[in-house]
Amino acid sequence: MSVVLSPGSVEDAVAMLAEHAEAMPLAGGATLVAMRNAGLVEPTHLINLDCIAELRGIERDTTGGIRIGAMTRHCDTAACNDLTGSLLVLRRAAGMIANRVVRNMGTMGGSVANADPAADYLPALACCDAVLEVAGPEGRRKISIHDYVQGWYETALEQGEIITAITLPAPVAAPSAYRKIARVTGDYATASCAMALDPDGKGLRAAIGACGPGPLRDRDAEAVLRGRLDDPEAVLDFAACLAALADPLDDVRGSAEYRLRLIPRLITSVLSEIALQTEVA
């Protein structure tokens, strides 16, 4: 049975994690308590991050950039009016996680820390070029989302480090969208796609989820595609570049082969969805 400690500051939380070797940070508990109930983890101490003001809320900085506190619940991200244009993709991804009740509990920091390959935030954050702010025994640092996932459930977080916030560049007026293919509403993704158009409409940024340990994004292939979005061959070539990066699992949600086939379909369908948004706008 675990002792629950509730630090009031990031520094205290980091100190408690350093003091107790078998301690784990507790965000919403949506994954951690489920794992503990199943006997998969047995933390001696749970460091409850819910009383730390710094980890709460969504703010805009002076340049228009957005800082999402690690303890922000999915329901609040899904309702956030600051996530517009190029950042709408993140708001949409939040609204497709599980169901209302789980969205009232789960947090962005917890989801990112957990790095489930099929979870919804990582592809959306990769599409938004997010940066993670972390704090640990060695002090504070930033990690680009593109350097974050290093293997299956393996991340750039060091022992004793916590995520304090997720920061995003200022939104620009350009359409973005998130599409999730799942067996039923509320399930984890079989495959997913986060996409944002460049403001001039000539290029795009895209990340595929649930087809490898981390989100798939190919910025070189995006550069090649720029200026050729209305050429279906070029779009399929682009999708093939992403599929070449994939390392999909065979699991209950779908076979590896099925997932590979979903990648070009996701890219073409999400692209036509956001192209339509531009025409309407």
């Binding site: 049975m1 675990s2 002792v3 629950v4 509730s6 507790l26 919403g28 508990g29 949506a30 308590v33 489920a34 109930n37 199943a38 749970l46 409850n48 819910d50 329901c75 599980a98 169901n99 209302r100 009740v101 789980v102 009232n104 509990m105 039923v184 509403t185 509320g186």
Partner: protein
Amino acid sequence: MSKKILHSLNLNGEEVEVATPAGATLLETMREDLRILSAKRGCNQGVCGACTVLIDGKPVRACLTLTARCEGHAVQTMEGMGGDRVMATLQRHMVESGGVQCGFCTSGILISARELLEEDPAPSRAAVKTALSGNICRCTGYRTIVDAVCSAAEELAQ
């Protein structure tokens, strides 16, 4: 025996003191220590919805919520919702439409349905199905439950 810790909780509008094992979930504390039995333990994984309760008015999974984190927050279960007009209407329609068979899922379903009607008083059938997608029922086949929520919404709108 694991060590018990004393917590003070605001449960269904009353202040209660309870001794519960360190790190216990709200579901364990309610069922084992307080004998509040409306919330059921189905999966203990957050998946089935049978343990859904309200904290500060919002539905959450009691099986994933630690009792230690409930101090200073208002916990509500079906036991404390008899006087709520929306809930009473939902309950009556559930009984009349045959939305209750064994009853294991019922309190979780009602709490999720009540939140839906608060946000969307005239939901479509599709919206009802989406809102209840996190609540599993092994008996009814769901149609009678969706019927109940839709007809309760109609009655409440009158």
